[in-house]
Every structure is written in C-alpha cells, then in structure tokens.
C-alpha cells in the first residue's frame, strides 16, 4: 500500500496498527525533515495555515482599527432591505439614506429646517414653495446636478402610473412641480399645508438620478445589483441585503468633508447580539441602544454612552366620534387608569419621563422657557393614576359597567404591546376589557394613517419630532385636520379651537398671540382628553471611546450622521 503525496516520501509504507487497534497510521518523512510523522506534518501544516489565515480573517470583520477614522463600523437594527427611498421609508432606512441621498431641505441637529440642495426657499401662503437651487453640486460619479434632475424626480413621484412609497405624499398633496428659472424650482400644493417644508426636510424630497428612475429602472434601484447614486457625502460601494452597506466618502461633495473615510453599516437586529458585538469591539458605535438595557451598555468598558431626550412622545389615541370614546367621561376614566410612571419604569427601565401633555416643553421652540411651560402645564386639568377616580368617571359615563375594546400594536415595536398589556391590566380593574393584538407594521401604520372615523377605535403611537415649531405638533387637535392621511387621528373637533388655530395658521403671528393661542388649545384639549400621553423615552448612543459624535440630538436620523463623527 503506497501513499505518496507531493513532498512526502513514505519510508515505511506499511500499515501500522496503533496500540488500541483503532487507527491506521503511516510513518512518513518530509524531505529535509527525516523522521517527521505524516500526522505531525499535517498537524503542523494546519497550524501554520491557520496562523497565516487568521490575521486577514480577523481584519476582515469589524472596524476596530480606526485610530485615524479611516474606517468605522456602525450597527443598525434594520432598514437594510433596500437602499431605495421609493420602497423604504422607515426611520432606520432614513438613517442610511441621508448618507448618500439628498433633498432640497434637511433638518439640522437642532431640529431646524436647513436649506440643502436648495440654498433658499420661499413659502407663499403655505401653498406655493419656490426653491433656489444650490450650485456646484455633482452626482457621485462626477456629473453635474441640475434643477431638471430635481424636477424629474418630483414629477416622477407625481406620476399617477407609478406606485411607490413616495407617491402617496406627492400625489396626496402636490399639484405641480415646475422649473421656473435656471436654478429655480416651484412646487404648488393642492391645498395649504403648513408642514410641507418639514415633510420635505424629513421624508419626501430625496433626489435620485434620472437614469435610475427612467424606463422602469426605479424597480431595481437600491438592490445589490443597482446601487443608488446620489449627491450625498458618501457613495455606496457595496450592499448585501439585510446585512451590510459599505460607503466611502465622496470627496466631490459640495459640503464640508466628513472625517470618516469608509463607513460600514451592519445590520444586527437582535439587541443582545448588538451588545455583544459592541463589547467585543467588532462595531464602533450604534444608535440602537435599547433604553431598557441601558445599564448593561453603561457597564461596557471602552464604550461611551451618550443620552438625549428623544422627544419621541408615546401616546394613546381615542376616536372621539366613535363609541365608547365619544364619551368624555370614558376618556377621562382611561386617563386615570394609565400608570405612566409604572410604564416608564418597567418598559423603559426608568430611562424616560412620564408626560401629561402631548406637547413636550422642548417643542415649544423659543416661545417660552421650560420653567414657564411647566408652570403653565401645572394649571391644566391633571389625570393622575387613580383607579378610584377612574371608576368614578366611568360611573358618570354611558358605560358604568365597562366595555370591551381592542387595540392594534406593531410587531416592529414590541414595547407597544408591553405598554398596552400594562394598561389593559389597570383597565380590567374598572371593568374595561382591552384586547391587544399584534399585527404587521404596515397594517398598524395603515390604521393610523388611514384613520377612518368609522373603523378606528383606540390606537397607540409614538410621534417622533418633526421640528421645533409647536404649531406643527398641535395639528393632532386641529379641527381642520381630521380625515384620512391627516394628523388629527382622534377626530377631535371642538369649535372653540377654530379661532386659536386661525391665529396660528395666519402666517407669522406675534409671539404673544401665538403663545395665547397655543395655551388655549392645550387647555381645551386637556379638558376633553382626545389623547393620552404616556411618556418620552430617551435616545442613547454608544461609541467607542476614541470616537465622538457631535451634537447628539433627537433629530440625528435626518442628516448624514457620519459627517458628525470625529475623534474624541
């Protein structure tokens, strides 16, 4: 029996039965190393191979060698299904889209609307918006960006024959998009919409290249085989669906040059896996620090945790035109049954604050100081957690013995179900049976968005910040904004609010008039309780200690975050 291999010369080509009789062994020699057994040779060869292979393999994963910020690996919890804003509109998706795509406007870290591809804009009666385009902008392949590109994108969004996630907003509110000058674009709305510029800043104004939209190309753009080309500070160089995106700094970008040259976004859905990846140093940072696990994250060595109020108001909505929520005593009974402090403690690990008003003090902008706002809030009707008071309110309603209702929660936000279950346990004590049902995110979002007054009952929602102008956030109680796709999802109409909203809608009212109007609105809404504010969790950011994220704020997803990363 001869077993001759390259480089091996059998010196004793005979079967040697080992002592236990269970294995065959062939004694061999390696040329130049007489007496070395074949098994030893293979063992050493394997060890040498592993030693040579491991360093490049280790270097392949993670972004820990980032002393000069050449490369950063950042974990995200989702949003990497596709890189196209035509199919992905979630906040997770927004986080990566802002890196390579740009629109006319953007929200800056303070929550103010900042001109972006438009260097300025004018608003004519909340119905016509005229944008002056920035010059010197190029696509990431070096070709110049012109106003026709923006016109093409927005007319594409308006095209009734094309259906995508951007269609709804444009086809619902925009009537025309026109080029009105060499570097001027005009958008006419079908009806006045005072939050149009906010929408454009946070959601609806990304622009892709014409060749990625035309002739059906839009159907595949954003997939690994058709990487999107934008005008943003980073260009996409690699994409694995639901796994990772590799972005490299685009040095031809018109704006300030980011310090991070290469950014890899990796999708780690599981919270524990993300924590372990951070702990092992395989990622350099993440915005997805679950607030309920904040203590575990703070215990990580070499990791900096920064927190910020999220302004992400969580609340329950009650359809005020549908029984049983058309009865104000029912709504007040619900309000007294809501253990806000308990929810903040158990669902968010205490990392948040209970709220009694749907307009957080931070969203008043510069109108009043926080202490003035809190003093005003103290004068409003309060509904502390008190099941006795809840039962008393329910006794005054048309349903003194309680009722049964249901609520949908989205699988994408498991905290919703937790909050609802806690609420349901309290409500059960006063005879109200709340059935909690988890559904697909799109179905939950549809119920909120479509808000049919005949179908909608009670909902849970969280309202991320759109800006620092309180009038935009008051739209949820605006009598003129009830109906499908509009903000007032409780269908709450109190005619005494028409006058104060007129003041707010009147363009630029004086500060004192605006403050008085807002106070009147909040006072009336606090009496009628169309919404049940729950609380505001904090946002937490984790970075390796040699990294620093500048200006961490609730508005971080709306501008290219990597541009704010720098050395500590």
């Amino acid at each position: 029996m001869s077993r001759v291999h390259d480089g091996l010369t059998p010196v004793e080509p005979r079967l040697v039965r080992a002592a236990g009789g269970a294995s065959n062994d062939v004694r061999c020699t390696v040329q130049g190393a007489p007496g070395l057994r074949r098994r030893d040779f293979l063992r050493r060869a394997g060890a040498t191979g592993a030693a040579l292979a491991l360093p490049p393999l280790l270097a392949d994963c993670g972004g820990t060698s980032i002393g000069n910020l050449m490369s950063v690996t950042w974990a995200v919890s989702g949003g990497l299904d596709s890189l196209s804003f035509l199919t992905q509109t979630s906040r997770d998706a927004e986080l990566n889209q802002t890196l390579f795509l740009e629109g006319l406007l953007q929200l800056d870290p303070q929550g103010n609307i900042a001109p972006w591809l438009a260097r300025s804009y004018q608003n004519y009666g909340n119905k016509t918006y005229v944008f002056q385009m920035r010059e010197g902008v190029t696509w990431q392949d070096g070709k110049p960006f012109v106003v026709d590109d923006a016109v093409y994108q927005y007319q594409f969004n308006l095209n009734p024959k094309i259906v995508n996630a951007a269609s709804g907003f444009f086809q619902g509110f925009v009537s025309s998009v026109r080029k009105t000058g060499e570097s001027e674009l005009t958008i006419d709305l079908a009806q006045p919409l005072e939050v149009f510029d906010y929408w454009m800043a946070i959601d609806g104004s990304y622009i892709m290249r014409r060749d990625q939209l035309a002739n059906g190309a839009y159907k595949s753009v954003g997939t690994p085989g058709a990487l999107p080309i934008g005008t943003g500070p980073y260009r996409v160089t690699g994409f694995t669906t639901n796994s990772s995106v590799v972005l490299e700094r685009y040095d031809g970008h018109w704006g300030p040059k980011p310090k991070v040259k290469k950014l890899t976004l990796v999708q780690i859905i599981d919270d524990t896996s993300r924590l372990l990846a951070m702990r092992s140093g395989q990622i350099d940072g993440t915005f997805d620090v679950p607030v309920q696990d904040l203590r575990l994250w703070r215990d990580l060595s070499d990791v900096e945790i920064e927190t910020s109020s999220s302004l992400d108001q969580w609340w329950f909505t009650m359809n005020t035109v549908k029984a049983p929520f058309d009865d104000v005593h029912v709504r007040r009974a619900m309000a007294h049954s809501l253990d806000r402090a308990g929810i903040v403690a158990s669902v968010w690990g205490g990392n948040g604050q209970p709220t009694t008003n749907f307009l957080p003090p931070q969203e008043w902008g510069e109108l009043l100081t926080v202490s003035q706002i809190n003093a005003f809030y103290a004068t409003l009707p309060q509904y502390p957690y008190d099941l006795g008071a809840a039962a008393a309110e329910l006794a005054q309603s048309k349903y003194p013995h309680g009722f049964t209702t249901s609520i949908l929660t989205t699988v994408e936000r498991p905290q919703q179900a937790l909050i609802c279950e806690i609420f349901a346990r309290s409500l059960a004590k006063i005879g109200i049976n709340l059935n909690v049902r988890q559904v697909a995110d799109s179905d939950w979002a549809n119920e909120i968005g479509n808000n049919n007054p005949r179908e909608l009952g009670m909902t849970i929602n969280d309202y991320p910040p759109i800006g620092r102008d309180p009038s935009t956030n008051l739209a949820i109680v605006d009598p003129s904004r009830t109906g499908p796709n509009l903000d007032n999802i409780s269908h709450y109409v109190n005619k005494s609010l028409i006058a104060p909203f007129d003041i707010i809608h009147r363009g630029s009212p004086s500060s004192s008039a605006k403050i008085a109007a807002i106070k009147e609105i909040l006072r009336t809404a606090a009496r009628d309780v169309p919404y049940l504010p729950i609380g505001i969790p904090i946002y937490a950011l984790a970075t390796k200690k040699h990294l620093r994220f500048n200006n961490f704020s609730p508005y971080y997803p709306f501008s290219p975050f990597a541009a704010r990363l720098g050395p500590a």
Partner: protein, 316 residues
Amino acid sequence: MCGIIVRKLLVTVALLFVLSASVFGLQQLAPGSIVNAVLQGTPRTPQLVQRIRHEYGLDRPTPVQYLLWIRNAVRLRFGRSYETGQPVLSAIMRVLPVSLELALYGFALATAMGVGWGVWCARRQRSFIDRILNGVSVVFGSTPAFIIATILLYIFTVQLNLFPSFGIGDGPGSRLWHLTLPALTLGLTGFSFILKLTRAGVIAAIDQDYYAFARARGVRGRALLYHYALRPGLIPLVTGASTIFTYMLTAAVVVEVAFSVPGLASLFIHAVSYSDLPMIQGVSLFVGTIVIIVNLIVDLSYRLIDPRVRFDGRAS
C-alpha cells in the same frame, strides 16, 4: 426502479400543489393589506389605492389570482416584493446559498458530533461517559437555540474574540469563519437526536446474530464496527436525516437573527412582518420544495445503505 422514481416525483408534484394552495389560502385569510405593504403608512388617495389593487391583480376573484400566481410560479416567476420591489426569485437566490451553507454546515457538525459520540456511547453502554454524553445531549437538545447562540457569542466572541458576532464575510474562508458559530449553534441543538438514533441503531446491531458471528470469525476493530454495527445502525439515522435537515432550516430562523445572517429565514420573518405576500409565498414554496426533495433523496437512498430494502419500502 424508474417507475418508483416517477411515482415519487408525481407525489412530490402533488405535495407542491397542496403546499402552494395552502400558502396562498392562508395568506388570503391572514390579516394584512398589500396596499399597506406598498405604501408603508405614507399618505394615500383612493385613486392610488385602486391603482395598487389593479397593478397587483387584487381586483380579480381569488381563484383567478391563485391560478395566475401558480401559472407564473411554474415558470419561476414569483412576482415582486411589495415592500422592496425586488423580484422575489432574485431575492431568494441571493440568500439561498447562505442558508444552504449554514444548514449543511450545521448538519455536518451535528452529524459528526452525533454519530461519533453515538457510536462511542453504544460501545460503552451504561458507562459513566455514556451517561454524561446522554445528559449533555439532552441539555443541548432541550435548550432553545437563541440561548445557545448567546452563550457561544459570549464565550467565542466576547471572551476569546475568536469569531465574529455578525455577518457572513466575503470570500469562502471568511464565510466559513463567519458561519462557524451559527452552524455550531445549529449543530449543538441538533446533535442530540442524531446521537440517540446512532446509539440505539448501533446497540441494536450489536445485539444481532450476524454481529456475534462476525466476532466469532475473528473480525475486530473498525471492520467489525463499520460493517457489522454502524452500517445497519445508520438506517434509522438516514430516516431521521430529513427531519434533522428540516429542523436545521427552521431553527435557522432564530440563529440567523442572533448572528445577523441574511438568509432565507431572515427574509421570511421580514416578509411576514410586512405582509409581503409574494415573498412569503415564494420563500414558503422554496423551503417546502427543499424539504420535499430532501425527503425524496432520503427515500431513494435507503437501498444504497441497506440492500434488503426494496423500493416498495418493504424489507426483502
């Protein structure tokens, strides 16, 4: 033999038809809306909703929708994802290699551990080691995959920093390295079944007369083990292999999430959470087909392992 193969293939086609009808029917009954999946909660107009319904054929009767779908599915056209707009087949083909590699890697580890230790236990029945290994297999077999995944991540990623905690890497070497912990998780959860089957099969074979006669003829060592104990003992293992492989594909749901592996399971979970009907149907049909084919291969392989088994399934 050809007749038997043709008959089994026809049964496979019938099974696929039942599977497709079930998947389609369940999705029709399930809550959720295509319009929601396409527009994702963004504003909508009645005209837009009508257009989406028309574009996706929802304005046709359900049986017509099914027939259209099955006609396209036969031609491997599963439509486009409602959520991302990608063709379903290309999305599946993109992640299928990863899932198959993971399942095969996990299956190989489970088999290596299960068969190796199973034989060892069988040869040392009721010994201390036998009891220990049986106990260990029970522990791993009854521990949820996500707990094993977390423990492995903690040991091999956090403490030893030997393996990556996420992703699939680039290139074969890197891919193997990235998939080792997920595959080990699958292997550890699946080896207990293989160990028990192997142990029981080998013990049963050792009790047979032919084994005693072989020993009496002086056959010893590996020849005795492989030819007279392990080969006949493998038949129940082969029967169970399809179950184990199917388990590997389904357990991957948890493992892919824990290790951020973008495979079929991740694709499916995401599709379900977005009510992405074409993707759900496509993945279900694909995984169902894989399971049916694996079962077919197992059926056909009996004869190779045990010549006593005829293709009508009875022992000769």
